[in-house]
Amino acid sequence: MSSHYEPKGPVGRFVHELEETAIAVILGLMTLITFVNVVLRYGFQTGLTWGLEAVSFLFAWLVLFGVSYAVKVTAHLGVDAVTNMFAPNVRRVLALVSAAVCIAYGLLLMKGAWDYWANFANLPQTTGRWFPTGFEEMTRTSYRSWYEVLEVPMPEFLRFLEPLMNEGETYEKMPRFIPYAILPIGIALLLFRFIEAGWRIWTGESDSLIVSHEAEDAVDDVAHMNKGD
């Protein structure tokens, strides 16, 4: 079994607690909204028409926010059957190569996430196909902050965005750059955690990026019942 992650220092502990709480709260909200909608429809012949879309966005938020946490605590699944056959020094090289692949993946996805989100927020995409080579010149069609989601209404407390983003026009629904913002944020965090993980392997603090099975914690919790032969 791989070791448990222990956050270091007060800031580390605070961030750790924040990440875990956010994951719990988002999943809790998704469940509650879905449940409430069932009750409203079956019991009261009504419903929150925005519920379905809101839950879908929360789902995306849960995963995109959480992937970086899962890198931090080494929770992503992988195959270690082959690497385990090698000597420690070969294993270390393979782990470093894997980390480099992950960082490259993070970089590509980071460019993609920025490019996808930027125009929705009236910001320039980067130029270049693989590597950002600069920022595009904004054209008439590069401004997409008017683009609203399908159902989720614009929250009142965000109305201050209208003069900033929508030339003062009112948003009937929430503009897309709000839910989509999790893409650049989540991927930036992911990239950061990949670099951190690569560094841990470089310094010898850890030896792998993967856990070889799910349900690890649950397994640890009950393994004591079956110790010995």
Partner: protein, 316 residues
């Protein structure tokens, strides 16, 4: 993308993404015909790849991808354009058009043609309107008057107008993923839905509904769109040829859609379903019940456009 099986080296690839089957649905049939003609007549210059059944994008993602330049053509239903400009809400307003001929005349009028270009500032250009047909109401019991529908739950497309229309007759509008609708109608999670004959037949909704009321209260139509950036970048001769082929395909398939619609209706009838035909008085009751919806969206749609549509109705 020179490796694709159907496309030769040096040909410009035009990706067309849609959400229906390619051989029975009015939209799928039109896209397939368009593909055949482009690939024959523009061989060596352009090559069209059609991605049916939402295999590449669904109707909502496809417009984002088009603005991004990842797909060149699509034909989403008209309500998807409400987000670009609210004028398109006119097509969702109940009883705005008398029949599909009215719709056709309106789309071909100056007002309709202007609508194709109304999204240019957002980066999209409408090329042609493709018909599906007039909408009917189906439910788990035959509906004769709007009061029969009161208290029921209907699956609706995400559209403010359609939600308001349902609420006007006391129906609770329920958004739901399209793939779940059949099951939800069957088990009774929702009681009914509105759709064209082609869709009611194609999705087999008639199997799980106890009555279909021939209200003809609205339309489901599509608009073939492309991105202004891509369209403007085309060589004028290529653009003209593409546009001519598209226009001929549109004329041919739109003319045939009445028959597809009638065949679907007959097939539903042959399957033993109950079709409720309304007397003029009964139909008027539906019109009256839904008419307040117009006032709600008059500002979005523009009185002059409503007037234009009504003038066409009157002339038919």
């Amino acid at each position: 993308a020179e490796h694709e099986a159907g496309c030769d080296d040096g040909e410009m690839v035009i990706k067309f993404s849609h959400v229906t089957n390619s051989d029975r649905h009015p939209k799928g049939l039109a896209a397939t015909l368009l593909q055949e003609r482009v690939n024959t007549e523009m061989n060596g210059v352009a090559c069209m790849e059609v991605y049916p059944n939402s295999t590449l994008y669904n109707d909502d993602q496809v417009l984002e991808a088009m603005l991004q330049g990842d797909v060149q053509m699509a034909a989403p239903s008209l309500s998807k354009f409400e987000q670009f400009t609210k004028v398109f809400r006119i097509f969702d307003l109940p009883f705005m058009f008398k029949n599909i001929e009215s719709v056709d005349a309106f789309q071909n009028s100056e007002t309709g043609q202007a609508m194709k270009e109304s999204m240019a500032r957002r980066g999209l250009l409408g090329l042609e309107f493709w018909h599906n047909g007039m909408k009917q109401m189906s439910a788990n019991k035959p509906l004769i008057l709007p009061t029969d529908a009161a208290g029921l739950k209907f699956r609706v497309q995400p559209s403010e107008v359609i939600k308001a229309q349902m609420e006007a007759i006391g129906v609770s509008p329920q958004p739901m993923a399209f793939s779940e609708v059949y099951g939800a109608l069957q088990t009774g999670v929702v009681d009914g839905q509105e759709n064209t004959w082609s869709n009611i037949y194609g999705q087999k909704f008639f199997e799980v509904q106890d009555g279909i009321t021939e209200t003809n209260h609205g339309i489901i139509d599509y608009m073939v769109v492309t991105s202004t950036d891509w369209w403007d970048s085309l060589d004028p001769a290529v653009r003209d040829q593409l546009s001519t082929i598209l226009s001929e395909v549109t004329t041919e398939r739109n003319a045939a859609v009445g028959q597809v619609d009638a065949d679907a209706r007959q097939a539903v009838l042959d399957a033993g379903s109950t079709i409720v035909e309304l007397t003029p008085e009964q139909r008027q009751a539906w019109v009256d019940a839904m008419s307040p919806v117009w006032d709600q969206f008059r500002e979005d749609v523009g009185q002059e456009n409503i007037d234009a549509a009504q003038a066409i109705n009157a002339s038919m």
